[in-house]
Symmetry: C2
Subunit: 222 residues, 2 copies
């Protein structure tokens, strides 16, 4: 419940709220770009496609934000969402598996804008090791542990083939990685203290395909 | 409710179930590869990380599958999930925006394995138009309508920059695209008869980062 703070003042934020925060943030950045200073929960709901009460409920986890009658300050909401998402201060990441997708991720500017810095790239293919991708030179996978420990890195993008994913994940966990953004089409097994977030493009495509079929079937019937 | 079929014999399948089906399928393919012929809902639940009753509930939408006491036939379940997801018969797609990510998607073998064929690639950069990516030559965006209509294509991957995404989406809808797999960090506005499925890598990274922070905070307290 939102009004049930933990002892350290933080509240238990449901995962569903956490997943909406990046989407709110994106809208808020856009409003800020457009020079808008205040925004109501109704307007956010309209832009977001949800309800105003859900937005207010979600934002309440982050403490009092002023009455929503005058709307919220866009800048203040941005600060609240960024702080809520622990985005303040920057985060270092590595990419493991420099195929086409790993390369695209290593070059993706959107991560840097949000202070996610890609610090190192790794692969085990001698033909790829030593090549430059953006600001980084691809290093051998055997160097992961040294780099992760030296730089205090906690997050890794996993873009190796499915057949190698679990072994590589085991190695990442062993060297101290605490969060894996997993692009390999595999359900990774990791210890409790490690977080895996899956980006499964094929699954998303399957769901899209299903929903298009359903919509067409519905149109035919009506 | 699972036991409330529509008039055409199909049942209303909740989106949460639809989203789990690709994950079940992946496990089933793996079991099939390993030569396993039958699987219980308990075993699937163990592999999947859910409960056996949820699995049984999800599968019940697809009709009677035999008693789960003897387990389900792996092959039969694969067929059921593939049919449930409308995966039978193959689906043609286009990729619009051939930057690093569009290129990686165009070359990604995982889509073809599930009979999603990438039929054409489009970009509006003269430096990219005409170049070969895999089996396709990049075409100018002005040709999208003609190709989509000629080939009867319904699905598009959208990998253009954020600033162009809405305009390109409008064009895709105008030429008959019914489903967009959107990689641009933008909430697309589309008509009711079009489906958008977002793959927001930055959002996933933000959620991962948050969960890692939460876990660390929890460890420190205990």
């Amino acid at each position: 419940m939102p009004n049930n703070p933990k002892k350290d003042g933080r509240q238990n934020i449901p995962l569903s709220t956490v997943r909406r925060l990046p989407m709110y943030l994106r809208l808020l950045y856009r409003l800020d770009e457009l020079g808008r200073e205040r925004v109501s929960s109704e307007m956010l709901a309209h832009l977001f496609g949800g309800t105003a009460s859900q937005i207010r409920q979600d934002l309440r986890y982050f403490g009092p934000l002023g009455t929503s009658r005058n709307g919220y300050s866009v800048q203040k909401l941005i600060g609240v969402c960024e702080k809520g998402l622990c985005l303040v201060g920057g985060t270092s990441c590595i990419v493991v598996g420099i195929g086409n997708l790993g390369r695209a991720l290593a070059l993706y500017a959107g991560f840097q804008e949000k202070e996610f810095a890609i610090k190192a790239l790794f692969d085990n293919d001698p033909a790829v090791i030593g090549s430059r991708v953006g600001n980084n030179i691809v290093q051998p996978s055997s160097a992961i542990g040294k780099v992760v420990q030296k730089e205090g890195i906690r997050l890794a993008f996993l873009t190796v083939p499915a057949s190698a994913a679990q072994d590589v994940a085991n190695n990442l966990v062993a060297v101290g990685i605490e969060g894996i953004l997993n692009f390999a089409p595999v359900q990774l097994m990791v210890p409790d203290f490690v977080v895996v977030e899956d980006v499964q493009m094929l699954n998303s495509l399957m769901v899209l395909n299903y929903l298009v079929h359903e919509k067409r079937r519905y149109r035919k019937k009506t």
